[in-house]
Symmetry: C2
C-alpha cells in the first residue's frame, strides 16, 4: 500500500515536470510541438498499459493465490500438503515415495490422512476439492 502511494506520487511529479519541460521547450522554440505531443502521448499510453496490467494482475493473483489459511484450518501438515500436490500432478504413491525419499507405506499413510481431512473418498476427488478450496494451483 505504501509502495502504491509512493509510485503514484512519483508519477504525478514526473508528469508535472514533463508539462513544465514541454511548455518551456515550446516557448523557447527548441522543440516542435508535434514532438512534445508525441512524447506526452507515448508516456501516457505506456502509463495506461502499466496501471491496467497491475490492476488486472492483482485480480488474477487473487483468483489464483493459494489459501494458506485454509490449509492450516484443514489441519493439513507440511508433508501431507506436499503429498497432496504430488497427487494433483498425477504421480502414483510409489513415484511420490521415490521423489520424497520415503517408503510407499509412508505415502499411503499421508494420503489416507489427506483424504480424511479433505473429506474425499478418492485421490481424484481430493484433487477436485483442493482446487475448489484453492489450496493447490489451478
Amino acid at each position: 500500500m505504501k509502495k502504491t502511494i509512493l509510485i503514484f506520487a512519483a508519477l504525478i511529479v514526473a508528469i508535472l515536470s514533463l508539462f513544465q519541460l514541454s511548455k518551456y521547450s515550446v516557448l523557447t522554440g527548441n522543440t516542435a510541438i508535434e514532438t512534445v505531443i508525441a512524447v506526452i502521448a507515448i508516456v501516457f499510453f505506456i502509463v495506461g498499459v502499466i496501471i491496467n496490467k497491475k490492476v488486472l494482475h492483482q485480480q488474477k493473483d487473487l483468483n489464483r493465490e493459494i489459501d494458506h489459511k485454509k490449509i492450516a484450518d484443514l489441519g493439513l501438515s507440511k508433508r501431507e500438503y506436499q503429498v497432496l500436490c504430488e497427487i494433483a500432478s498425477g504421480l502414483s504413491n510409489k513415484e511420490i515415495a521415490d521423489k520424497l525419499f520415503v517408503s510407499e507405506s509412508t505415502i499411503k499413510t499421508h494420503v489416507s490422512n489427506v483424504l480424511v481431512k479433505l473429506d474425499a473418498k478418492r485421490r481424484t476427488q481430493a484433487i477436485q476439492i483442493a482446487k475448489t478450496l484453492q489450496i493447490i494451483p489451478q
Copy 2:
C-alpha cells in the same frame, strides 16, 4: 480480425485528427497548450488501458477455452471424452457408470482407451495432461 483492423484504422484517424486539431487550436490561439496536452494525455491513457484490457482478455479466454480440435486430434470419442470429464470431477468408475447408465466394465473400457490416447498411466495423470492440453475446464 477484420474488427481489430477497423478499430485500429479508426484509432489512427482519430489520433491524426486530434493532432491537426491541436496544432490548429494552438496556432490560432484559441486554446491553451496545457489543455491540448491534457486532452492528448487523457486520450492516450484511456487508449492504453483499453488496448491492454483487450489483449489480456483474449489471453484469458484462450486459457479457459476448451480446445475441441485437440480432442479430435487425439482421437477421443464422444463417450471417452465424457468419461474423462467425470474422472476429472473426481468420480469413481462405478459412480460414472451409474451417472451414464452403463456398466462399470464399459467405463473401464473407456478409461483404458482414454489413458492410451492421452499417454497416461493413471487417471490422475490423465487429468493433469488433459488440463495441460486444455481439453477440460481448469
